[in-house]
Structures are given as C-alpha cells and as structure tokens.
C-alpha cells in the first residue's frame, strides 16, 4: 500500500493505492490519526480508487479514523470505492456510518 498526501485549502486528500491488510493498515491508521488528533485538519478525504483489496483491519482503521474525526469535529470522507471495497464495507454493515461520495469534486465541495 502507498499513501500520497495532497493539500487543498484546509482539506487533506490521501490517495491510497494497493492492498489494505494486516501488514499495511497500521500505516493508514497512523496517517489518519495524525491528521485528526495532531493537525486538527477540518476535512480529510480518502481516495480509494486505486485500492485493490481491503480486509477487516482496513475497515477497523477507517472506523478509528472516523471516531477520531468526530472527537475533534472534523469531516472524514471516502470516495472512489470500487466494487470489491464497497462489498467489504457492506459486509461489515458499517457502510452507512461513512460519508461516501462518487468523486473528488463532490468530496471537496464546500
């Protein structure tokens, strides 16, 4: 998995690629918690368009990111979910708790 960060005004956009699993999810968790807890970024957007695979540890990292965002009053947005990633989130029954958009334009809109 690779994470590339972009900054747009007060929004951080993480472009994620590869697989999110037990080996790589700690890296994602760390990046998300830093943005919310340390940097207090008002909005973090996760571009999952190039993610091939995600397991329960990846879902758990997203849940931790969401909880951290709520703790500091920030928004945590996902977009670019392919069928495989959407199915995993649906299987977890947690898909409804996330703010999910189809594309970046919607995700960074005021």
């Amino acid at each position: 998995m690779q994470i590339a960060a972009r900054h747009l005004d007060k929004i951080t956009i993480f472009d994620i690629s590869g697989d999110i699993d037990l080996a790589t999810s700690p890296q994602l968790r760390k990046a998300l918690l830093r943005e919310f807890r340390e940097l207090k970024v008002p909005r973090v957007v996760l571009n999952l368009g190039a993610v091939r695979y995600m397991d329960s540890s990846g879902v758990a990292s997203l849940v931790e990111g969401l909880k951290a965002s709520r703790d500091v009053g920030s928004r945590f947005i996902l977009f670019g979910l392919n069928r495989t990633i959407r199915e995993v989130l649906q299987l977890s029954k947690l898909v409804k708790i996330f703010e999910i958009y189809d594309n970046e334009e919607q995700s960074v809109a005021p």
Binding site: D19, D21, L22, A23, Y53, D55, S56, S57, V59, A60, S61, V63, E64, K67, T84, E87, V88, L91, S92, K93, L94, I97
Partner: protein
Amino acid sequence: MSRSSLLLRIELQSNPEMLCVVRNALGQLAAMLGFSEPECHAVVLAVDEALTNIIRHAYLGDAEQPIEASFRRIHLPHDGQGRDALEIVLEDRGVTVNPKKMCGRALEDVRPGGLGLHFIRESMDTVEFSRRKGRNQLRLVKILHVQGPRKGS
C-alpha cells in the same frame, strides 16, 4: 463420505507480509476451479481473515511461526445431489483458541476489531474450529455452484 483431491499445500510463516502472496495464489486457484468473481473474492477474504486471526490471536503477533494451509477439491452431498466444493484447512501451533470466544461481535457495536470472524462466516458455507494434537485447525468449505473450470482460465 466425501471424495477429495489435494490441489495445493502451502507452508508459510506467520508474517503479515505473506498475506498478499496467499491471496494472489488463492484467487487464481478459485478462478481456475470455476468460482464466480464475487465467490473468488469471498474465499480470498475468508482465508485472509483466518490467517490474520492466526497471526494476531494464536501467535500473538510473532511473525516467525509456522502455518500450514491445504486446499482440496471435495465432492459433497448437497440438496439431494452431489456438489463439488473447495475445502481449505489452516493449521497452526499457537495458543489454544476457544471456539466459544470466537463469536465475533454485534455489528451494531461500531468499533474497530471483531469483524474478521463475521467476514469468514458470511463468506463460506462451512466454518469449523478444532484443536488436535497441539494444533488449532480451521476447516472452511465453499460449495461450487457452477460445475467445472471457467472457460478461458
């Protein structure tokens, strides 16, 4: 009684870096057997989650312990007729896993962790835990609804 033929046996270390290797091999094996794309994803997810549980809970994160995985094509009675299926057996020598504690959690409880077993149960037709001769054994079965290998694979 089911007939079975060994398709693949893997001995791997309990290193999270090995998970993607197993996923790639298993995805191709499932497709070769004729499972649909969603079924292939389901089988891969279940085995990945099971291996993750072994690494985290049986071996407590120790990345140098042995795991054995065997993959067999079996023939089972199903709905009054025979069905082919993929049987996957994962074995480890880690701490005893109490099946009663392996119950996952309520999905309404929104928090990290505990999802893996839910994914396994949702993805497979049979999920059986046992402890034999100092080893934890997990047996997973996925029934093949389309008989025979997929064309072009």
